[in-house]
Symmetry: C2
Subunit: 503 residues, 2 copies
């Protein structure tokens, strides 16, 4: 057996452990009986320890050490071909991230974040920031330590962000966000002043939940989500999970009086699922069979949800079918419906934000996280800072912690550095879609004809099939021929909302 084969066998074993764990987690979120939670945690803890052992234990170390210097990450054989070099660099990096944290630290972090998620959930309901504060303080401390373990060049926050968005620095993101912020605030101001606001009360009428479910599935199948290799189930919070490119599942929840909610969550998750179904199965278990980054993943979901799913051509195709299912919609026309699903309104809650204001919610969190990790901001100062920045960025201020600084689960999970990926997803998506349209001048006609294969094939060829071969910034450059910039996204938004709000 060659050294590479030995390493790949271990990666496959690790992938199997992880995919089995993902099945068990999917079951927990969808069908597990209420009373089964306690033993389920033990099954998952066992699987996670097992996967960690496969990925960082002595067998893996020995196999990897034949090809890469474990300390420095340098490839041992200089004559290794570039593809294999990239492959080994990624394998080493994942190994390094997984093994560089001392066992005692991992255990402390895991225990703390498990507790603090529960504390956060209760404290949030009671609107009690002080109950959560000591936990968040410890989490910030541990995240700083984590950054030091990982190692960093410019600022420790870079190391945290690097877990989710490889190659991205706080400086790069800061520059992108700064330009984006000015453009967004200007657009929001124009929208605010517009006398021609859509009235979307019709969408809060009663919509049969079974029909909503069916319509969502019809649409995502049409988009290309293959139900021979996937399915949709109900869960408290929508998510996508992939066990292998042949088994990629989405979930959602349906509200009778909010037809937008389930539908756009289904399209969003299907965007993620199309990516996972499109990853090259022949590279499954290796970095080349994985998504490029969390932000690139988000680019897929947000492109399908917002740029396609909330476009006029999309509804010119689907609106007749929607009216057939929900005759109440005959009260209005497709142009008006298009305006209703694109209402822009600065609001307090990130996950309910429209595509114009959404990125501002992210920027605020990015600013605060940087200050916590790099600049010694005290957790006790968070609530005031949050409100200040909400006023500055969005012009609205929460009346309590629940609707403000305590709204997101991420910090209680120890996932500091994750938020930027959401907004970067918007920027990536705009740049990718620009290029698709450039490559296919009749692009929007295909959408108007309910023909999604032009887009899906483009994404398969340029994004999905390439796995993690390139880091996100390189992928954008390679695919679009341009550096990542907020301009395409801002241009897209201005163009779209100029029509909707008659600016």
């Amino acid at each position: 057996m060659t050294n590479l084969k030995e390493l790949k066998d271990l990666l496959m074993e690790y992938a199997k452990a992880q995919s089995v764990s993902a099945i068990v987690q999917w079951d927990q979120e969808t069908y597990m009986p209420d009373g089964a939670g306690e033993f389920r945690s033990e099954q998952l803890a066992w699987l996670s320890a097992l996967a960690h052992e496969i990925h960082t234990g002595s067998r893996f170390q020995h196999a990897l050490a034949k090809l890469v210097d474990l300390e420095s990450g340098n490839i041992i054989d200089d004559k290794t071909d570039p593809d294999t070099k990239r492959f080994l660099a990624l394998v080493w990096k994942d190994y390094h991230y997984a093994s560089v944290l001392p066992a005692a630290f991992v255990e402390e972090f895991s225990r703390l974040t498990s507790q603090s998620q529960q504390v956060w959930a209760k404290a949030r309901m009671k609107n009690d920031f002080n109950a959560f504060r000591p936990y968040l303080e410890k989490i910030v401390d541990l995240c700083k330590k984590q950054a030091d373990y990982y190692g960093w060049t410019l600022t420790p926050y870079d190391a945290l962000m690097g877990q989710y968005e490889p190659g991205m620095t706080a400086e790069t993101v800061g520059n992108l966000f700064s330009e984006l912020k000015d453009g967004l605030i200007e657009l929001i101001e124009a929208v605010r002043k517009s006398p021609n606001k859509p009235d979307d009360r019709l969408l809060k009428e009663s919509f049969d939940t079974e029909k909503q479910w069916m319509f969502g599935l019809e649409v995502v199948e049409k988009m290309g989500y293959n139900l021979n290799f996937g399915r949709q189930d109900r869960s408290a919070h929508p998510f996508t999970t992939g066990f292998h490119p042949t088994d990629v599942r989405i979930t959602t929840r349906v509200f009778e009086n909010d037809m937008k909610s389930a539908f756009f969550s289904t399209v969003h998750e299907a965007g993620h699922a199309l990516y996972e179904q499109g990853l090259p199965a022949e590279f499954f278990s290796t970095p080349f069979g994985e998504a490029a980054s969390y932000g690139i993943h988000e680019s897929q979901s947000r492109m399908w949800e917002n740029m396609i799913g909330r476009s006029l051509p999309f509804w010119q195709y689907f609106y007749p079918r929607l009216k057939e299912l929900f005759p109440i919609l005959k009260e209005t026309d497709v142009i008006n419906f298009y305006r209703m699903i694109n209402v822009v309104e600065p609001s307090l809650i990130r996950v309910e934000a429209d595509e114009v204001t959404y990125s501002l919610h992210i920027m605020l969190r990015f600013e605060i996280e940087k200050m916590l990790i790099n600049d010694g901001l005290n957790v006790s100062e968070l609530p005031d800072l949050w409100n200040e920045k909400m006023k500055e960025y969005l012009g609205v201020v929460p009346e309590d912690y629940k609707m403000g600084v305590m709204q997101d689960v991420h910090w209680s999970m120890g996932a500091i550095g994750y938020f930027p990926s959401y907004a970067l997803g918007n920027l990536y998506a705009a740049q990718f879609l620009n290029k698709t349209v450039k490559d296919h001048p009749g692009f929007w006609d295909t959408i108007r004809a309910g023909e999604f294969s032009v887009l899906l094939n483009w994404l398969r060829n340029h994004i999905h099939s390439r796995g993690r071969q390139l880091d996100p910034l390189d992928l954008v450059k390679d695919v679009s021929g341009e550096m990542l910039s907020p301009k395409p996204f801002l241009h897209y938004l201005k163009n779209k909302y100029k029509d909707i709000y008659e600016l």
Copy 2:
């Protein structure tokens, strides 16, 4: 850490691997997308190799060897208390059964049975015994070898049966079945001659499948199946699976024109599930937390399905509700309905047989298996022998292999020795229920009142909570005060069918 603690930790690890595998298998049978089967097999093969390694690898060997002589199974410390002795004896036995087969043999057996199941399924559809024959010949050969590896005293068939029904020999079963057979044939003959046969055509009318589903769940909840620790889903073949006493799931399928099918399968599986939910959670992962045998398991499902679920008092309670759901049943009364669900009719297919003829199907298989394993019967002689015995036992002869010798999946899976457990379940059940009624003279009034806790508590105390502390024959003796005998079952049947067929 004490030696016992070390061993128990390894048993817990093994139990986690097995329970995770059971979740993944449940998913495969219920919700897995069609296209995901290939990778799923690999995940399951990995889990099964992993579980085997935990159960028989060097860590387990070292831990067990401190307490038990690995070769002989003798407990090392004479002063060990009786409970621990029994515990260690069972742990050693399981280890011995798992480790005594050479790896090459296990691999050959596994590959062969995996192939032969597929060959069987196709050959059965084409009614082609000869296509299946060479596979079955190899399976019989390997099963003989397997018996030799396990070791046996009287006949090799005992070793195979011992996997499912510990302590049972072909001689014991042969004696029980011989007496049972005479009684059954006599009863069937009386039924055949009866001029007062029930007419059950009404039950083949259209019954809404959603209502069937709901009613089945209502009934099994009432029986005591706790949906906080369980659930029911759809699958091609009904089954029960338990991941832990807090997560025990059942499945079924529903036919619009056969309301008996889904209902009695639900009650049957709930009987299994009540057992699994009643196993002592504090002993989970150890033999004392496991079912006593396959036959004892079957005693629970068959008691609930037939002796309770097809009894008159049961329907005196549930029939009003059933009529409410299905007004078509108002055409008849509960006595007549009771007769309809208890039609006795010798038939070709085991899984569709009524409770009177069922055991004869098993005896025929038992006879044939014994001849194959102990007496050198040639597989090519099977089809003729099958038909001969069908004629002798049931008076009906199949016109093809599909409805005859090729109907069951068991042999293609290599599960020779399993069938007797089904019929033994009937005998155990009758003896257990007799004792329950003796302990609670007003027993049938509780059933008539829809009150199942008297029965369930009795089963919990005398059967469920005791796990594998006793082998089945000892359990029957201990619980009922009498040796296992076919008399109580025959007595139960004669009494019941005397009324139904006015014998």
